[in-house]
Symmetry: C2
């Protein structure tokens, strides 16, 4: 079988992005900066209330895989779409970016997952924040049968998103993926996804970490603190260090901290002229890092490439880069 | 009935935008900067070959109506979508922008129209150009029965797009709309849409102009020259002046020329920091101009507002503004 750098397992989602006022989030009881799961009727109601939008393929792990492929890496994705127009868009965008994606679509009337992304802008700093409401639709139906063992065995890293913990069949799919990956002596990477997601599944996440099921953990500051049950990042770091081989904690414009078994590397963020929309920054950081990791770069270079990739996607509205990221790899070597 | 500033009749299209190399246009025999009509199999083939894309509601007249509503005007739209996800997106975006849009959807298996927009960037100047391939789908089925006479009678201006000439039932719908509008002593505005469109329908367009069916004509430099069958804009102007009450000729960064019966007003373009994507510039110019016209502004102010609105939309990828345009009206009065 063809060999891959990274295979990712995640929710296959089309993002529907619109600018909105902060008051809209209050009216609809959506915690700012977080991801709320919604059912079909609420999705319809919220969409009706939202402003004119732009659609683009999303999904956290899917964005990461698209980023890896854009950097020139060999990437594959496992995820569930429906047989509708949104599903076709998602599949097209993955394939067009060069991501191997062959999970069969869900038959029936359930639609492809949609994430309503409300982008708010701070009047003073002009910085934006995204608040998400996700209708999982077809994603709820991913199950162990969708886990292509040969694909996972052919990939250096299997990348999993925390968001998948919200559904039971998806959890069983993940368990299978981890077992296959580790059985083939491959690495497992995991992203905590969202502080609210950590709140929902903290005990299970710690259990996975403590039983050595995760080799590389991706987290942002808020998620690390949520996992450590502390507002103090240093305390969270103390609790986390040594649990996984590599723990990446991204800190937006403050850069990132990378914890290995017995070291902590602090890296600055790549300079950015203009932040247009931070959607996808964490996903693309993981893309850059994993591209570096699977190409045997030293940890500092992995982090720098992560930062470059993240800084690229925040220039645009949407969670995927609009141009090939491969030049970033050359920039790193220069 | 509620009164409207402008009712527009046009193709109801969802745009699928992707960056591409110029060589892609050659490979697929698409004339750069133009709009090519394609059938369903060719649309599928071209989409497969295109890169990862972003979707947003489009359609020339629809963009103009969305712009008028965004400026604070009362806008209505008549157009045909299918009962699919793309159709729902189009309807949502029109309603969310405040445009009255109640044309019933087409039933059956034909899908909502899609415009594949290939954005090419000049390596030196960084300026972008859009090349379009349109699958008309449900739009082909608009017909006189969709023309709500009461809505047209309730609107100061009925705005029509030249692109509609590509289908016979749509032409009959336009004839009805013009008859109703003029019967109610309202104005008819028309956009030439595209130089290739003018080539296809030159004789009919001249016939409409010469029989006084058009009061306000929108055109860009290339379209005016195509209509005048000359590469010299001055010759085209000589042929056009005096035919319609108002003729607007937009010239991108060179501004615009507005011809009235016995005057020619030359206006500069609004200054723009950065041109990201020119898609929709002409549509939004018409929006600003018609907002001004229906609010009894002098012709120079109509042109300036057109230029402001156009300069706003070219900052983003896509053909509709991402923020409310109403502040531009205040800027004009300041």
């Amino acid at each position: 079988m063809e060999q891959f750098d990274v295979v990712g397992l995640g929710n296959a989602i089309v993002d529907i992005l619109a600018y909105t006022e902060e008051s809209f989030l209050d009216t609809h009881a959506l915690p700012k900066g977080g991801m709320t799961l919604i059912d079909a009727p609420r999705a319809a109601e919220l969409y009706k209330a939202m402003g004119a939008a732009t659609e683009c393929s999303g999904g956290s792990a899917a964005n990461t895989l698209a980023g890896i492929a854009s950097l020139g890496g060999k990437a594959a994705f496992i995820g569930k779409v429906a047989q509708d127009q949104m599903g076709k868009i998602f599949r097209h965008d993955m394939n067009a970016t060069g991501v191997h994606f062959t999970t069969p679509p869900l038959l029936g009337t359930v639609s492809t997952a949609q994430c309503l992304v409300m982008v708010t802008q701070d009047g003073k700093t002009k910085s934006t924040e995204r608040t998400m409401a996700t209708y999982l639709g077809a994603c709820k139906h991913i199950s162990p049968i969708d886990i292509d063992a040969a694909l996972i065995e052919a990939s250096k890293v299997t990348y999993l998103e925390g968001y998948l913990w919200d559904e039971q069949p998806a959890k069983r799919a993940i368990e299978k993926a981890i077992k296959v990956a580790h059985g083939a002596k491959k690495k497992v990477a995991f992203t905590l996804s969202d502080a609210f997601c950590v709140e929902r599944h903290r005990a299970e996440f710690w259990d996975m970490i403590n039983t050595k099921q995760i080799d590389i953990l991706f987290s942002n500051e808020r998620e690390a603190c949520a996992l450590g049950e502390t507002p103090d990042l240093n305390i969270a770091i103390t609790k986390l260090q040594g649990t996984c081989d590599i723990i990446v904690i991204t800190r937006s414009e403050k850069g990132a901290i990378i914890l290995t078994k017995d070291d902590a590397v602090t890296l600055p963020a790549a300079p950015v002229d203009q932040v247009f929309d931070v959607t996808g920054a964490g996903d693309l950081y993981a893309a850059g890092f994993l591209y570096g990791y699977t190409h045997n770069m030293p940890i500092e270079k992995c982090g720098m490439l992560g930062s470059y990739a993240a800084s690229e996607v925040i220039k645009y509205l949407g969670a995927r880069p609009m141009s090939k990221l491969a030049p970033l790899v050359s920039k790193l070597s220069a």
